[in-house]
Symmetry: C2
Subunit: 477 residues, 2 copies
């Protein structure tokens, strides 16, 4: 099946020219369109930028226009951040200019009041008539790390968004570059999208677009409400056989429904129905904000596992026990090491005789702790009965950060098996630095032990789904 | 009921003189007793330190003795880190010297082999005969932030352990100052204890000791195995009416049982039985390492809630929805704000009309965002229908860190209600700095949103238990 919306969605991410319509007033907390342009320039967007506001002749030294109709060149995308009552007329101008992609950043529509909801309905009707697609209202719009396009009207404040293969789509501007530690945590981002009020384009459209996006291998979606459940399920079913989709569903925004649900306790039940429906469509369901950000990394950086048998190395037994608990909870099996692996480990040290491989007691006795560590990891990766591996590492204990990172970098991996990392230690900055170094090598590194293990469980679940889908496809053909 | 073991436990934490018996060899990864003394000196222990080793005349410039029997003054506590077969004879010397408290740091006992288990049994028999109490073997022993006593044989590497009112007891050396970010995260620690193999003293003894410890208001216990369930339950029932006890139970260490449990899935069931038993004794049950460290902070810093009705402030609606989800999951009710509170909020802004209080839309419209924020928080705290409050704050958006911290510091709290904080933002170092500043003011600040909310749920559960216990006590009297 073809994706009818692809051409409609493309300009929202791939625009070569963007009009920013709204206040161009300079200064902190001032003109929203001014700050969008600021962010575009700071990230390094190289397309054409058209500030639009009849009261200004320029913004950031770029010529401003009284309306999009005065712009000579073509415009692929318009971002409108003007009061709600003014938006319809501007959309009309955009249509006359030939703009087919419009983001409405402004708040004050359906999320705010009945009047706002009416304005929003009228806007949708108008856009349909004019053949214009809308994103929003009440949104920070889109971001594309390949072209450095951003329509974010809040100060991002840094330019270090790592270009990668995870697309993050959300129903809140909170999950945007201005609110999240994208630079410090170096999430490998392809595209970001805030659906806002989802008056026209929504998560189903985004899935259809991203399914064919060559820059995106993994999709993470945050949802509050679901307007058209069937449509979303169909989009998920089309997407998940090719690309993993991580779904983080939070409660509905409608305050009455939420308050009611909180009192009656019906919320949890509803959420479980959603979770179950998402899983049936092959989605990877997560339940916390940190999981939304972190779980996609295993898919972004690592191959899928061929099963659910986990092996672990740890510098201390107590953590190995905690990791085992987490593994069981995540639906993983603690791998039974083969005789050959046990022999390899025994040659390294008579204290290495089970999984999790507790290297602590050996480390204090050997002259070559890093070599023992490295050979132990290699032995686990070579074991036919091991599908995935979690490395628990200490920042700074056995040699320097450089030595530990070098040890892991030197592991010979003959088979392609997913590996995750958890780093602990006394210094948070050393933990963060080591995490960035490992992710630079393609090893997803987690802020907590439990997620480092759970990520394997979710990947194994997804891998099983993919296998089933492909087996069924084989049966049908 | 009196606590028969108090005098037995006291020297393990309150020793004025300590003998360190073991290798005094200098250098990284060398003599364990050498490193214990290093750590004592670095933390600033002011009691008498007696290095004991017949091959040395001094360690760190402190006179060394061939045996404890040669020491002139009294010795309150001995830490033995010598090969397993040598330990019994040294314990005998300790007894002759009048030492009644001995920590056996050495590995290689019951956790390692059958021979080790036999040695351990013999050691326990000997100690009972001699009237000596043992902690360990296979332990890093104790730590006391009031006297700076530590028996840790690994390099701690910093001296910034914050003195506070949480005692952390664990069954693994991993949960020690040398492995955890106690300085960076500024956990307010009174005492720490690693039970190790628990051949003699265990978590029940520790509870009985800490119950009367004036420096400790909250107790966090990590357990792998439970040797004497009834004894532990009794100790919990004695302790929890006075002090909250947070319990983090991980799987049994016996690898066969663990492997079997992993295959059969019986582990989860067993753990639930434990959880349920702990809760019946008033314990606060947590399930992750981060919760073990972080949940006690709400009890350490804040009063108990009078109910489970939560109010929240947030700079953005999307996070409010996530916090609401977390609250419902944690057994909390979303507080219905009173008419009076709603009027107060309406006077601040017509956009402030529900809980969670979403301050975002108002912030961009007002000249005095911090005053609006502050007055909103005060209004929530004054509402009779609000039992606890979570503040969601952004590091750096509305004014500087100083301004945001100052705003919170200036909140007028007429009623004493627990408050927790979650800080988000683009910069991890700013988030960490703001968290430390808030905790300096006594506001527990969490690394994830969900725990900031869940902590209230656990505190409410504990408060209910305390009320029931005191009501039943009232009925009986």
């Amino acid at each position: 099946m073809k994706h009818p919306n692809r051409s409609d969605l493309a300009p929202f991410f791939e625009a070569q020219s963007v009009a920013l319509i709204g206040s161009l007033r300079e200064g902190e907390g001032e003109g929203e369109a001014y700050w969008v342009i600021h962010n575009m320039l700071q990230l390094g967007y190289r397309g054409a930028i058209y500030p639009v506001n009849p009261s200004y002749t320029q913004a950031h030294g770029i010529k401003a226009y009284p309306s999009v109709l005065e712009v000579e060149g073509p415009i692929d995308l318009a971002m409108i951040i003007t009061p709600p009552v003014t938006v319809a007329a501007i959309v009309e101008q955009c249509a006359r200019k030939g703009i087919r992609a419009v983001i409405v950043g402004t708040e004050g529509f359906a999320e705010a009041s009945e009047d706002g909801a009416r304005l929003q309905r009228e806007l949708v009707g108008l856009a349909r008539t004019l053949g214009v697609r809308l994103l929003g209202p009440n949104t920070i719009g889109t971001l594309n790390t390949r072209t450095n396009l951003t329509t974010n009207q809040y100060l991002i404040g840094y330019n270090g968004i790592k270009s990668g293969n995870i697309a993050y789509g959300s129903q809140t501007g909170f999950i945007g570059a201005q609110g999240q530690p994208l630079e410090d945590r170096a999430y490998p981002v392809s595209k970001m999208c805030d659906f806002g009020n989802k008056c026209d384009l929504d998560e189903a459209d985004l899935l259809d677009y991203l399914r064919d996006d060559p820059d995106t291998d993994v999709i993470a979606i945050h949802l509050e409400g679901v307007n058209e459940g069937q449509r979303l399920m169909q989009a998920l079913r089309r997407t998940t056989p090719d690309k993993p989709v991580v779904v983080f569903k939070t409660a509905r925004t409608e305050p009455g429904a939420r308050a009611s649900a909180s009192h009656t306790g019906s919320l949890a039940g509803k959420e479980e129905v959603y979770d179950s429906a998402f899983r049936q469509c092959g989605a990877v369901v997560v339940h916390t904000l940190q999981e939304y950000w972190d779980v996609p990394k295993i898919f972004a950086y690592q191959p899928l596992p061929r099963g659910n048998r986990l092996a672990m190395t740890t510098p201390t037994g107590g953590v190995g026990v905690m990791a085992t608990d987490a593994a069981v909870r995540a639906g993983l099996t603690i791998a039974q090491l083969s005789d050959s692996t046990l022999e390899k480990l025994a040659r390294l040290s008579d204290k290495l005789n089970k999984n999790p491989v507790d290297l602590g007691p050996t480390m204090v006795l050997t002259d070559q702790p890093l070599a023992v560590y490295q050979n132990s990891i290699t032995a686990l990766l070579e074991d036919e009965g091991v599908d995935c591996v979690t490395l628990i590492l200490y920042a700074g204990a056995i040699g320097s950060i450089d030595e530990t990172v070098g040890m892991v970098a030197g592991v010979r991996q003959r088979r392609s098996k997913p590996v995750t990392v958890w780093v602990y230690g006394t210094s948070m900055s050393m933990r963060e630095e080591m995490a960035r170094r490992f992710e630079g090598m393609g090893l997803p590194t987690y802020v907590d032990l439990e997620t480092a293990v759970k990520a394997h469980g979710l990947a194994a679940q997804y891998a099983r789904y993919r296998e089933e889908v492909s087996r069924m496809a084989g049966t049908e053909s």
